[in-house]
């Protein structure tokens, strides 16, 4: 990990409040890792933890939704504007450990960190995406181009199957499940994987300050005591979470 002030290669609006920012950052980056992003104009204080969406050579990209002032300011950056990147951070997915067939399940903005993983696992993985409605879908085609099968459910049924995507996953057909999305969704997935005795990896989101394990602000309660989402995670085994 290193901290670097670099320039924005692209910061493109994908959907209403969803953007993808890319920049040059030479480093070995694992799927599921994240960076701390900050504008250099001091318009907000703490860097924002944003997961890696994709890596192409030396270009790393981040797909993020505007949630507050920090992400709003980041969304205003244009090509060649300065940005402070600190990373890669966190454990990421251990792709060597995810053996056999895998189901990758993303809910809402939780699909963002899963694209690079889907690309890495390729045809060994099927992707299940859950969105609120057809208007809130994004990067579906990119998942389709790398995964074996891509399945979509929307809560209102305006695209794909109607309802929660978690209800459509044939858990028993997989050797491993990887999930990122709302906590309630991940809880359901952890339960289903437990019943089917399948390895389950989930990526969690927390408020962070340092991003690397020093401040203890991003605690995750596990069966083995407090862990840090930033350093021990953000990827955890479903079974270790409380």
């Amino acid at each position: 990990m290193k901290v670097k002030i670099t320039t924005v290669a692209e910061n493109k609006q994908i959907l209403n409040n969803i953007f993808r920012l890319s920049a040059v950052f030479e480093s070995h980056i694992k799927p599921g890792q994240f960076f701390m992003l900050k504008t250099t104009d001091n318009s907000f204080l703490l860097p924002r933890p944003i997961s890696v969406n994709d890596v192409n050579g030396d270009i790393v990209s981040f797909l993020y939704r505007i949630e507050g002032e920090g992400t709003r300011r980041i969304s205003c950056l244009r090509q060649n504007d300065e940005i402070q990147l600190f990373g890669p951070l966190g454990n990421g997915f251990d792709t060597d450990e995810i053996k056999g067939r895998a189901a990758i399940i993303g809910g809402g903005i939780g699909a963002a960190p899963l694209l690079y993983l889907a690309k890495t696992l390729g045809k060994n993985a099927d992707v299940y995406l859950g969105y609120k409605d057809s208007a809130s879908m994004y990067i579906l085609d990119e998942f389709k181009s790398c995964a074996d099968e891509t399945f979509v459910a929307t809560e209102d049924g305006s695209f794909g199957e109607k309802g929660f995507v978690t209800d459509y996953v044939p858990y028993g057909s997989y050797d491993a499940v990887v999930a990122c999305g709302p906590e309630i969704m991940m809880k359901k997935i952890i339960d289903s994987c437990g019943k089917n005795n399948i390895k389950c990896y989930v990526s969690l989101e927390r408020r962070m300050a340092c991003g690397m394990g020093a401040c203890l602000g991003c605690t995750v309660e596990t069966k083995k005591g407090n862990k840090r989402a930033c350093k021990d995670g953000p990827v955890f085994m479903g079974e270790e979470l409380i």
């Binding site: 901290v3 204080l45 300050a209 690397m212 020093a214 401040c215 203890l216 605690t219 005591g225």
Partner: protein
């Protein structure tokens, strides 16, 4: 080249820049970003006699140019620290100051007894953590109470003793004088300011503990005033902290009378902030043709 070497508490610091307790862990993470041997010193994460899991619920909340935290002194306890963390910290060629909090007098005493025989260079006695009852803030409000605990700790403490003051103290100059009279070798201030945030949609306080500690650039003017007041009141060295983000901020604190400086929240904004600040101080002194910090310390 200007010499930033600073002597305080009978110790020699390469420069006056230390990293503040609670923002730097035990240094391990930051050592992957830069060589910690360039630092004047490191103040450890706040320790208590026994391990603590810390607070439940939200622990961090950003405000305009500020950070509220309610970590609740999550720490491995003094014994684990001495066995597992301190040996590694001693490998950094810098002054290691161990921050110790306590719930009652006995907690402090037992912690000090253990640390007396350790490799720690100095103790920072925390009588100011706002986030837990066992953080010691109860000792840091009234100067008579602070005098009592500091003098008792002084009697048994074999290491140089720095006392960390709370901005929530009733009177900063009185508090500083009380700590000096009780035998402190230095004082550091300010710890975080007790603060609050409310989630109006949920109609609940953001933090489970209701109140939390505020740090960052928004507290700097208050911290600077308090450091100035303290430095005028005592002869022992004052270690200034509170929202110092860059070299210019650090120099303000030195002009206000600080001998040492601690960098806290800035470590989160840019992990090598302390390094930038040290370099920035050299640059400022060079540009201003100042040979030593003694020329500008306490000039206001």
């Amino acid at each position: 080249m200007v010499n930033l070497e600073t002597n305080a508490m009978g110790l020699s610091f390469k420069n006056p820049i230390l990293t503040a307790s609670g923002t730097f862990g035990f240094g391990e993470e930051y050592s992957q970003i830069y060589d910690l041997s360039i630092l004047g010193g490191i103040c450890s994460k706040g320790l208590t006699l026994l391990p603590r899991e810390g607070n439940k619920g939200i622990r961090l909340w950003e405000t305009p140019m500020g950070l509220m935290n309610s970590i609740g002194l999550e720490n491995p306890g003094v014994d684990n620290f001495i066995c597992k963390e301190l040996p590694r910290m001693k490998e950094y060629d810098t002054v290691i100051i161990v921050n110790l909090g306590g719930h009652c007098e006995e907690d402090y005493f037992h912690g000090i007894y253990k640390l007396n025989d350790s490799y720690a260079d100095a103790i920072e006695l925390n009588i100011s953590c706002p986030n837990v009852k066992s953080g010691g803030m109860a000792f840091g409000i009234k100067s008579s109470v602070a005098y009592d605990i500091v003098s008792k700790v002084r009697r048994i403490c074999k290491k140089p003793l720095m006392v960390k003051l709370s901005p929530n103290a009733e009177n900063i100059p009185d508090m500083a004088v009380a700590c000096e009279a009780a035998g402190a070798d230095a004082i550091s201030l300010i710890n975080t300011i007790q603060a609050m945030a409310i989630d109006i949609k949920n109609k609940k306080a953001v933090f489970d503990n209701i109140y939390a500690g505020l740090s960052g650039p928004c507290v700097k003017p208050v911290a600077l005033r308090m450091v100035h007041e303290a430095a005028k009141a005592v002869k022992i060295p004052v270690c200034g902290l509170g929202g110092i983000m860059n070299a210019a901020d650090a120099i303000e604190f030195i002009m206000a009378g600080a001998t040492l400086i601690q960098i806290g929240t800035a470590n989160f904004i840019k992990p090598d902030a302390a390094k930038d600040i040290i370099n920035g101080i050299y640059e400022f002194l060079d540009n201003e043709n100042i040979k030593s910090l003694d020329e500008i310390r306490g000039i206001i």
